[in-house]
């Protein structure tokens, strides 16, 4: 084989390698969330995702809910999953889907524990401990860097984001996708004012139309709701930092997607199924957007910021990239990649891209991000309608 760039990762029975080897304690029903949190708190090497909803979900809302649960359970960073639930048929159906995708799965169910949450925690703790012991023995092996699916996000942006952090990320993404890698961006509202630039990069006219229509639908919804976007997006934090309109924010934001062809537009939390650069129909708020990326199989996210933003995905290491001079001076335990010196010297963004590539490799190989170290992660699936 020719020189293929590799990283030490975790091989999976099916699908791309992981960059972490977590046992996921996945509460798929709101009633069992407190028990799931107690289980995870007791067992080292676990991560808990606690879904607050279940009964009464209908239509698109139900479809997204189930797709996201299965996607999170099968994320490459998950070595094994423990389902916790108050609904036996739902748990069995989801468990079968996860098993069919080659993922190791166990379950602890409230009905099997006589409706006793204390027994559920005891059973769940034993199962989680067993799974951690199993996965903890797995060694990292060389895996191709091109197997990484990298999610993109910006938050609490400022003008420095558009000048350096985003274009530097874009340069890295161009190289990653050219080498056979995958990347996903979303945050549809933040395409307003930049739709034509995105549409011009679509690989066919139907995708170009989607890249125009999705933000147009958001614009119509905002107007119908009587919501003045300025002050909402851009947010008060964006405006205080110097961004004046959604167009300015969008034009700065899309540069993190690089310059390559956009292969498709994915539904919320849907995996792309092939390499390349993809758009996803997501809301822009970080918890909802990052969770959609994790459910779609991203192993890592690149998250640019100007003013600073502490939030990360709970499941996928999220690298914070910043070029704002005073933020970089003040927030020493937040940014994994600082580019303020490059912006200050008006250096080309390609130099920032090289720095990001190094941080991506180190993180994939196991170095913890600030967000992981400090526990700033959470995972929140979007809702798309009211429950019955």
């Amino acid at each position: 084989m020719a020189d293929v760039a590799t990283f030490p990762g975790f091989r999976r029975a099916v699908g791309p390698p992981g960059i972490r080897n977590t046992v996921l304690v996945l509460s798929i029903t709101g009633l069992t969330n407190p028990a799931a949190r107690r289980i995870a708190a007791q067992v080292r090497g676990t991560h808990v995702i606690a879904m607050p909803y279940s009964t009464g979900l209908i239509n698109e809302d139900r479809e997204v809910h189930l797709r996201a649960l299965e996607g999170l359970a099968c994320n490459p960073n998950v070595g094994a999953v423990l389902i916790i639930s108050d609904n036996v048929p739902k748990a069995k159906s989801l468990g079968a889907g996860i098993d069919a995708r080659g993922q190791r799965v166990e379950m602890a169910l409230l009905d099997h524990e006589g409706q006793d949450a204390i027994s559920l925690v005891a059973m769940g703790t034993r199962l989680a401990a067993k799974l951690v012991r199993e996965v903890s023995g797995q060694l990292r092996e060389d895996m191709p860097l091109s197997a990484l699916n990298i999610g993109l996000k910006c938050g609490r942006s400022d003008p420095s984001s558009g000048l350096m952090a985003n274009p530097a990320t874009g340069h890295f993404i161009d190289g990653h996708v050219d080498a056979g890698g995958t990347a996903i961006f979303g945050e549809v509202v933040e395409w307003l004012g930049a739709e034509e630039l995105l549409a011009a990069r679509a690989c066919d006219p139907a995708i170009a139309a989607q890249l125009r229509n999705l933000p147009a639908e958001r614009e119509v919804a905002a107007i119908a709701a009587g919501l003045d976007l300025t002050g909402n997006n851009p947010s008060p934090t964006n405006i205080a930092a110097g961004l004046s309109s959604i167009e300015e924010k969008s034009l700065g934001g899309i540069s993190k997607t690089g310059t390559g062809q956009i292969k498709g537009v994915l539904d919320y939390a849907k995996a792309p199924g092939e390499p390349g650069l993809f758009a996803m129909d997501t809301p822009n708020y970080a918890p909802e957007h990052l969770t959609a990326l994790a459910a779609a199989g991203c192993q890592m996210a690149l998250f640019t910021t100007g003013a600073g933003n502490s939030f990360v995905s709970g499941l996928i290491p999220t690298l914070k990239v910043c070029a704002n001079r005073s933020s970089c001076d003040k927030l020493k335990e937040q940014f994994d990649v600082t580019l303020d010196d490059l912006l200050d010297q008006n250096r080309p963004a390609t130099e920032g891209g090289t720095r990001i590539a190094k941080a991506v490799l180190d993180t994939a190989a196991g170095r913890l991000t600030w967000g992981e170290i400090l526990g700033e992660g959470d995972d929140i699936v979007s809702r798309f309608g009211a429950a019955l």
């Binding site: 000048l163 004012g193 167009e247 034009l251 008006n346």
Partner: protein, 92 residues
């Protein structure tokens, strides 16, 4: 001297790389020098040509909204004199 980045030849605003005080000179990345009409914070936008009310304000070679007031060279451009053209509830 303060510095500002001009991102595109068609742009009507530049982005400050250093804060500037009223009367201070700013070197644009294309070599031109303009004078600040007011105090402007780092990374904020400065008008590099006069703009009439209603014209599109250009950054990245694209429109980022329109001027809602006359804007002179050297003035700060932000939400007090620029409004988005998108998702506006009250059209004026």
């Amino acid at each position: 001297m303060s510095r500002a980045i001009l991102l595109h030849p068609h742009d009507t605003v530049a982005t400050l790389l250093d804060r500037v005080q009223a009367g201070g000179d700013i070197t644009l990345s294309d070599g031109r020098v303009i004078r600040a009409a007011e105090d402007i914070p780092i990374y904020f936008k400065i008008a590099i040509q006069p703009m009439e009310r209603g014209v599109d304000v250009m950054k990245y070679g694209q429109t980022i909204g329109r001027a809602i007031d006359r804007i002179a060279i050297g003035e700060m451009v932000h939400t007090h004199n620029l409004v988005s053209n998108r998702a506006q509830v009250s059209c004026n």
